[in-house]
């Protein structure tokens, strides 16, 4: 980048020098203007004007003209193009001047274009250069890295080599040690065995010596003292030690050995015969099993298998005959036939196994992954079926239409009508039922509403009465006989108010209400409105459709003062259920409105 930037000014300065050298000859002030014109054409119009004004004055027009014509000629334009309109005058022949100007402009534009292109190219070049430099540096970095890596690997390799060497030396020393230890062990063992032998020999010698000494001493104590000798346990007399006796001992020994072997042989024989019996039995059963199922399973090879089994049976018979003889031949035959049979059985079992596995595979494929062919087959089948069904339906429809169109006699029409009417009737019935239900709901609601209205009216009346009595009291209190009135106010109240018991209750409930409304006043700023509040409470009640007034009031209180009573909980539940009821009713209303 830097290089490029530094290169450009020198180039331009070169150009400028060239121009200036020319301009210098004639005009010194034009020097900078040319420079300026080289740079920007946009700036030319503004600055050049002032420059031109400086360049050409009223006085030096002919010089200017001549200069310009010279310049133009040097640029290769027609030198005669710019001439003074009148020789020696200040005017200028306009057409050639304009032409020259135009040409100059053209040249200038072309130059600008080329310059631009060059600049662009330069930019591109510089960009590519930059990229190249970047990639170059990157590659350099990579190279450096890989070189470093390589050296690291070299280092590790070297270390590993060292390690291997040390380990090898270790191994060698260990091996040496093992060998040494082994040799030590061996030498110790040999030493030990040698010592042991020596000790044993010594001990033996000592024993010998001891026994000799003891024998020589003729130990008096060494004796047997028997009252009278006993007879042999078998009642025989003892024998002399002769060769005959020793021979008989040998005989005895061999006899016992022989008898043992004989017994063993007998046992083996027994076992053998048992095994043979089992083999025979097995063979028979095998033949029995194989012969009936062979034709069915093999089919094509049934005949030769039959022949085989025949042959085998024969062989079996013969072997059975020869069993008693128990000669080599019979045994061979038996084992051969058994082997054959066994092979057959095995192949049969394998086949069965294969079948079973196939069946299982099918089962599995049904369960999990259906083989493609089966799947396609099935699909094809299904498609066929669907097609058939469609066709069937189509024909049915066609037939029905035909019947309707062609043979539209009264009977069928009546029948059809009947059908339609029946259906319609049914539908109407259902609708009727629905309507009835809705009606009933509506009725119930209305009843509730009227009840509530009646109650409201009654309460209003009571309130009015109360109000009147209160006013009366107030009025009476305002009279000069206050003290008398006050002491017997309660009495007066009871005496003055001629009320039935339910009304009494009403008043009491109203008092409660008033109490509860002290909380309500928070929301209602006007205490004077308290008279109208009970009616709103009633409205609440009616809206929530609470038949029991007292409980409704409780619930109200419960809502307002959450922790007021123990009953609060369940009353709230009650209220909830009621709310739900209300919803149902409202729904019913909606339905009504819809219908």
């Amino acid at each position: 980048m830097g290089e490029w930037w530094t290169a450009v000014p020198t180039e331009t300065s070169m150009g400028s020098y060239e121009i200036s050298s020319i301009s210098h000859v004639t005009m010194s002030p034009s020097r900078q203007n040319n420079l300026m014109s080289m740079y920007s054409s946009a700036g030319l119009s503004k600055s050049s004007y002032s420059v031109i004004s400086a360049f050409c004055t009223e006085d030096n027009i002919p010089q200017c003209i001549s200069y310009i014509s010279q310049e133009l000629a040097s640029l290769g334009l027609s030198s005669t193009c710019i001439k003074a309109s009148s020789p020696g005058g200040a005017g200028l022949d306009t057409v050639p001047a304009l032409n020259a100007m135009y040409e100059l402009l053209q040249i200038h534009r072309r130059n600008m274009c080329t310059l631009e292109e060059l600049e662009k190219e330069q930019l591109k070049k510089s960009n590519t250069l930059e990229q190249m430099q970047m990639s170059n540096s990157r590659l350099k970095d990579q190279l450096e890295l890989s070189i470093r890596e390589k050296s690291g690997l070299h280092e590790t390799e070297r270390q590993l080599h060292l390690k291997i060497k040390t380990l090898q030396s270790c191994l060698k020393t260990e091996k040496d040690e093992v060998q040494k230890l082994q040799s030590i062990i061996a030498s110790r063992a040999s030493q030990y065995s040698h010592d042991a032998k020596r000790k044993e020999r010594e001990a033996a010698k000592l024993k010998e010596r001891l026994s000799q000494l003891l024998v020589e001493r003729r130990d008096k104590k060494l004796a047997i003292d028997v009252l009278n000798s006993l007879g042999r346990s078998d009642g025989k007399r003892s024998h002399w030690k002769t060769t005959k006796v020793t021979a008989s001992h040998e005989d005895e020994m061999y006899k016992s050995l022989l008898s043992d072997y004989e017994e063993r042989q007998r046992a083996l024989m027994l076992e053998n015969t048992e095994l043979k019996k089992v083999l025979q039995q097995m063979k028979k059963e095998m033949i029995h099993i194989l012969s009936p199922c062979q034709p069915s399973t093999r089919g094509a090879t049934a005949e030769d298998s039959q022949a085989d089994s025949d042959g085998e049976e024969k062989a079996g018979d013969s072997s059975r005959e020869m069993l008693d003889q128990s000669c080599e031949h019979a045994r061979e035959q038996l084992t051969n036939s058994i082997r054959q049979q066994w092979r057959k059985l095995r192949s049969h079992v394998e086949k069965l196994d294969n079948q079973a596995s196939q069946v299982q595979n099918e089962m599995e494929s049904n369960n999990e992954v259906i083989p493609k062919e089966i799947h396609e087959d099935e699909m094809e089948k299904m498609r066929c079926e669907v097609q058939q069904c469609k066709e069937f339906i189509h024909t049915q429809q066609l037939l029905l239409q035909q019947q309707l169109n062609t043979s539209f006699d009264d009977e069928t029409a009546a029948l059809l009508n009947d059908c339609y009417t029946l259906e319609e009737k049914e539908r109407l019935k259902e609708e009727w039922k629905l309507f009835e239900e809705q009606k009933r709901n509506f009725e119930r609601e209305r009843k509730n509403f009227t009840e509530a209205a009646i109650r409201l009216g009654r309460e209003k009346k009571a309130f009015e009465e109360d109000c009147a009595s209160w006013l009366k009291n107030q009025f009476l209190n305002m009279t000069p006989f206050t003290d008398r009135r006050s002491c017997s106010s309660s009495d007066g109240q009871s005496a003055l108010s001629i009320r039935s018991e339910p009304e009494m209750r009403m008043s009491s409930t109203k008092a409660q209400l008033a109490k509860s409304l002290t909380y309500a006043t928070v929301s209602t700023p006007k205490p004077t409105q308290s008279a109208s509040v009970p009616s709103t409470a009633e409205l609440y009640r009616t809206l929530r459709l609470m038949p029991d007034s007292s409980s409704s009031r409780h619930s109200h209180r419960g809502r307002w003062q959450e922790s007021s009573t123990i009953e609060g909980g369940d009353t709230r539940v009650k209220s909830k259920t009621r709310v739900r009821c209300g919803n149902i009713f409202s729904l019913g209303e909606d339905e009504n409105s819809l219908t």
């Binding site: 047997i224 007879g231 346990s233 020994m253 050995l257 043992d260």
Partner: protein, 482 residues
């Protein structure tokens, strides 16, 4: 099940005669002969010193009593109480004394195994056998009493000599391919002699009666080897217990291993039944806690126990042996076949409280008995597949294919069963304590009935039998007590 009262004994010397009629017990320097059925004292012999060994002759007519310290052997006759015989080995010393199978010869091994002296009671003749080897089991008589195999050591090599017991004629003498022979044992039919090497090397050699080497078996190398060897009564199997906690069974035809029984610490073999002894303290009321009760005996401290069938898998307590000590407590040290060769009972030393019972027909684990304390001794009934075991407490334990029973021995004074042995008929058991003994009579008829009943329901739960304290059929002997 009835129990007799306690009798005194010393050195655990108490043996029933081979014909099953008499019971001989040693009390210090006296030998007491009782009738097994009545427990009446029949004879009383007095020896010269405290008896250290006692043995019946095969014909049940004579008893030898050895006093090893004095180098003395005294023989008593049951038929002729006046008859006596005294053998003095003198200053050469005595470490072992035994009858020959004919009951007319006595074989005494001298100190340092210098020699074996054979004394004949018929002719008073003495013969010596030199170079006997001092090892685990250096001599063995064949079951029919014809032959005696003796391990010898000469010139640092092992030899086996086979003698004819009739006249002590040396029948065969051959060198064995062992480093250090540890033991030998005749097969019950007397035709094969099994010889095994010391524990340093796993090697079992099988020799024919005529000295031919039939087979050699070695399961592994470089580790402690054979710990115990036992023939099955049918001579079909040879069971080898080793330090690797396994039992290997060889067959008698090819002498190859046909089965291997591991003793794992965790049992999850679904075919096996694991019986676990569960102790339960008897509830004692506060008023019972009087001084009287405490002084009377151990009834207060005796806990009742019963077997419970554990659901699998079962973890068995294992004691890790000290590897730095010789003869580590690990491996199968005790093997016993039932009389019908049907079952094999084993004990692995690092699982001391457990007895394993293997089925030899199915070749798998049949039952595992996990006791609360270490098993001291177990023995099969000589007639039935029934195993009796004891764990040095006041209880007797019995196993049969039908189930498992724990029986409290109804005695006073803290009688602890240290060891036990069956009567030849399988009708009674001798329970040996430290200084006492007690006879336990099996009620065979009832037993059989119970057996039959329990056969229906394969594995009936282990029922606890209430011990009957006094025997009805066998009135306890109180007449003469030594």
């Amino acid at each position: 099940m009835n129990f007799s009262e306690l009798f005194k004994q010393s050195n655990q010397l108490c043996k029933v005669s081979p014909d099953g009629k008499y019971l001989a017990t040693c009390v210090q320097y006296r030998l007491v002969i009782r009738d097994v059925s009545t427990l009446q004292i029949l004879q009383l012999y007095t020896c010269l010193d405290q008896i250290t060994h006692m043995e019946w002759a095969s014909d049940s007519l004579f008893i030898l009593c050895a006093m090893y310290k004095r180098g003395l052997v005294q023989v008593w006759s049951l038929e002729q109480p006046d008859w006596h015989c005294k053998i003095d080995e003198g200053s050469i010393g005595l470490v072992s004394s035994r009858w020959s199978p004919d009951g007319r010869h006595i074989l005494n091994t001298t100190e340092f195994h210098l020699r074996i002296t054979v004394w004949s009671l018929c002719t008073k003749a003495v013969s010596y056998i030199k170079y006997p080897k001092a090892c685990q089991k250096g001599t063995d008589f064949s079951r029919d009493g014809c032959y005696m195999a003796l391990a010898e050591r000469r010139d640092c090599k092992d030899y086996v000599s086979v003698f004819v017991c009739d006249d002590w004629h040396l029948l065969r003498h051959f060198e064995t391919e062992t480093q250090d022979l540890a033991g030998l044992e005749w097969s019950p039919n007397g035709c094969v002699l099994a010889v095994w090497d010391s524990c340093l090397e796993y090697k079992v050699l099988l020799y024919s009666l005529d000295g031919r080497l039939l087979s050699t078996y070695s399961a592994y190398e470089w580790s402690l080897g054979v710990k115990s060897v036992t023939w099955s009564p049918s001579s079909q199997f040879l069971a080898i217990g080793s330090y690797d906690e396994k039992v290997r069974i060889l067959n008698h035809i090819t002498w190859k291993k046909i089965a291997q029984f591991d003793h794992p610490a965790t049992i999850n073999n679904a075919k096996a039944v694991v019986y676990k002894e569960v102790e339960r303290r008897t509830a004692v009321g506060s008023d019972d806690l009087s001084l009287h009760n405490i002084t009377i005996g151990t009834t207060l401290f005796n806990t009742q126990s019963k077997y419970e069938i554990c659901p699998l898998p079962v973890q068995i307590p294992v004691v890790k042996p000290d590897p730095d000590r010789a003869n580590p407590k690990i491996g199968v040290s005790t093997l016993a076949f039932s009389s019908d060769s049907r079952y094999l009972a084993t004990k692995n030393d690092n699982m001391a409280s457990v007895v394993w019972i293997w089925d030899m027909q199915k070749m798998n684990l049949e039952a595992v008995l996990e006791q609360t304390s270490a098993v001291r001794c177990f023995q099969w009934d000589p007639r039935r597949p029934r195993l009796a075991l004891c764990t040095a407490n006041t209880k007797l334990y019995l196993w049969s294919p039908a189930g498992c029973v724990s029986v409290q021995v109804p005695t006073e004074g803290g009688f602890q069963v240290q060891s036990l042995s069956w009567h030849g008929s399988g009708d009674s058991l001798i329970l040996l304590g430290k200084e006492q003994l007690c006879l336990c009579f099996m009620d065979t008829d009832q037993e059989d009935k119970a057996h039959l009943q329990s056969q229906d329901g394969k594995q009936t739960e282990s029922q606890e039998m209430d011990p009957v304290s006094t025997s009805e059929h066998h009135p306890p002997c109180t007449s003469k007590r030594p």
